[in-house]
Assembly symmetry: C2
Homo-oligomer: 201 residues x 2
Amino acid sequence: MGMGRPREFDAETALDQAMEVFWRHGYEGATIAQLTEAMGINPPSLYACFGNKEGLLKAALDRYTKLRGVWMDEVVAAPTAREVAERMLTGIADRQTDPANPPGCLLVQGGIACGTGSESVPFELATRRAQNEDQLRDRFVRAKAEGDLKPTSDPAALARYVSAVSVGMGVMASSGSDREALQQVASVAVQAVEAQSADGK
Amino acid sequence: MGMGRPREFDAETALDQAMEVFWRHGYEGATIAQLTEAMGINPPSLYACFGNKEGLLKAALDRYTKLRGVWMDEVVAAPTAREVAERMLTGIADRQTDPANPPGCLLVQGGIACGTGSESVPFELATRRAQNEDQLRDRFVRAKAEGDLKPTSDPAALARYVSAVSVGMGVMASSGSDREALQQVASVAVQAVEAQSADGK
DNA sequence: CCAGATATGTAGTGTTCGCTACAGATGTGG
DNA sequence: CCACATCTGTAGCGAACACTACATATCTGG
């Protein structure tokens, strides 16, 4: 028994194109026609490879969070909580206004609200954002244990805060805010982390 | 010439119901069927009164921002920049988790991204958020002039920052974060404004 | 009570959506 | 070269969408 005709497109390349469409238009705003055109394939190929529209989104999210995870590892590798926050927020400002990608963050742009029948999409995005927050929290827990953060500080609250600012910056970026505006936000936001640092700066 | 049959529903009451549907499902996620059912009317009445779906959204946004404006006036009436930020952010935490409303903020939930043909919706929401930011900025400009904020502080950046945190909290609320979690974020966020206050607290 | 004007409920319209049946193309194992 | 398996393109499926035609009902002005 043979192995069948091989597929004529590269799945990861196609996924990158799909990711960009979801990123720009959101889950519900992206149509199969737009996706297939961007991916350079026809609907049957899409469904054979990814199951359905939601499966394609999840695959795109996997790819997005994988790429982002590499960067996040660098972020939490910073020596102090303050520098973690600074790397994170200034990096967010740069990345979310990088003309190579759609503005904002796929985990926000993808869909905060969805119609009946797609309630799992916002949940899926929220789960991925929460993973990011967890990674930050773990890093801040360590910072507190190391005496880098004040003994009175709340690492979980700090992580939630940095995560919230990141999300807010993503919305601003998608609404047209430029890199400079986001850098200003990052600059102010870091000061709240400084206030929780043992050396106060 | 007569004045015709009077409408049998109250426009503002119906608008409140429509606002809640948009708030919960977003612009694209909300269907005319859901809207008319919530409003207790039939499609022709909706179109006669509001023009089309986008007109209904704008009317709902007008009502939302009007109600919110009353509260914002109280916020900026606080005596110091720090207290303005505190009232704003703790109030956001309370309001966005108020069980009387859908979670989050209509200006965020309404739609960050939209499909082709509805690009004006995200723009409309962004414009309303910008108005809020302008109001904050004006207040912080005054605070700086009054010596309440440091001479080196940037009122526009501070306003952008508070606005960004508010938006981030809105996304968190819609993803299931409870009041306490948002209050923690608010509590941390205020410290950045404190750092820009002349008395440092 | 009548004529004009506006609102209402029923029952659709055309379009677009996500998705797929099907036939032909292209590969592998024997 | 043949049976089989998988992919590809065309063409279109049923459902849901925003929106509306139309007949009927309810008002005002005369």
